[in-house]
Symmetry: C2
Subunit: 249 residues, 2 copies
């Protein structure tokens, strides 16, 4: 099945497969121009690369229609994503790297580190399941939590949620701002008010009440929080079966 590839993916190839995987997840498909945008290359370059990757069995390409990963392509993408996220976690947790700067570093190291090193880091971290931005870390054999989360922008006024992750870790300014207002994975956030016509949202995070725009809110992925009733212990362990169903492949 696997094509007679030169037995090691190049850096550009790994980045293409990773980008296509993410686009497929977000948008259900990956178009030439989306990939071009994500990788900052010309659309024509994407067409060329896509032809080669399709020939090597990493993806299916219907001209003028878009591109889809094969099993081999998805496996390669998830391997790179695992490396990226383990590296980010190590940089943050062990070396004290700020969370807005780990992405660029990991973007290069992910192609250079050996499997042995990656697993060594993972072990040193106690086999983490999510990276500093809350993104799930695929397992060695390519299983990953693919749950889709709601965003802070969709939260109903008065409701509380727990932040799960940032939609993308590529924007340092956004990440710095989120850190400023203490919005990080695990944080509880309440939507206090929402201005009409897609206006700003008033949040409560701990004591603070930051006001954020809808664009930012759409970048913050949340999950419902099981508010423990102050005195009555009954509803605390409410199962919530539907929301916690992990999709693994």
């Amino acid at each position: 099945m696997t094509a007679p590839s030169p037995r090691a993916l190049t850096e550009p190839v790994e980045d293409y497969l990773k980008a296509i995987y993410e686009l497929e997840r977000r948008n259900g498909a990956a178009s030439t121009s989306e990939v071009a945008l994500a990788l900052a290359v010309a659309p024509a370059s994407v067409t060329g690369m896509v032809r080669r990757l399709a020939a090597q069995g990493y993806l299916d390409h219907v001209p003028y229609r878009g591109v889809q990963l094969t099993a081999a392509g998805r496996a390669a993408a998830l391997r790179t994503i695992r490396r990226h996220r383990i590296l980010e976690t190590y940089l943050t947790q062990v070396l004290g790297y700020p969370w807005d700067r780990v992405h660029d570093e990991a973007e290069r190291l992910e192609h250079a580190a050996s499997d042995e090193l990656i697993e060594c880091l993972a072990a040193a971290l106690g086999h983490p399941t999510s990276d500093p931005h809350g993104a799930p870390i695929p397992t060695v054999d390519g299983l990953v939590d693919e749950r889709v989360h709601r965003t802070l922008a969709d939260l109903a006024v008065g409701h509380t949620a727990r932040m799960v992750r940032v939609a993308s870790d590529k924007d340092p300014d956004l990440l710095r701002y989120l850190a400023d207002i203490a919005l990080r994975p695990g944080a509880e956030v309440t939507l206090v008010a929402r201005a009409p016509y897609d206006g700003p949202l008033t949040l409560r995070i701990g004591e603070a009440q930051p006001i954020v725009g809808p664009n930012l809110a759409a970048q913050v992925l949340v999950e419902p929080v099981l508010t423990p009733a102050p005195a009555s212990a009954a509803s605390a362990t409410e199962p919530k079966p539907a929301a916690s169903r992990a999709r693994r492949r």
Copy 2:
């Protein structure tokens, strides 16, 4: 002075400059075939790369005569060597990597890590001055201990020396064997006997008396050790001024 380079050395370029630096140090010059051998490429490939690097001001090339680093070339080489050796030290000391496997890993990471990360690792290690193989780590501004050491093969029978470093860290088998007989930087070794006609050497390291071939002995760089006389304190602090002169540029 610096040529209009595309503002970042590629991985092959960094490896060429590093190899040329090492050859220049060892042999006083770097010939096309030596570089080709060191990098496992064809001699014709070296000629091509050398032409480009000379055009960019990293080295001087006299056709048919050999190649020499310019100041820019030496600086680039030392930067890569610093990264390599800091990475090796981190892998060994913090992650418990065996000393015979750090080289290959560092050989790739050295091109991907940012300056920031390298300095972060150096700080975490307390700014080490030598790598796991005893090789000196250049400073950020390109200063390096360039002392030339004698080898174990040159030691006089009956004399004791302290191992400084392994001549090269590229041979895992050699490194594993050295570790087996407890020959590591800092170890004290006494030459007990030398068989004639370039025969094997009998050493004493701690309690053990391993017998090694002259090829191996030539890979082990040593410095004279100031044997503290058990009772008489006279000869202990013998100055030995010539041997300890550090050459820094």
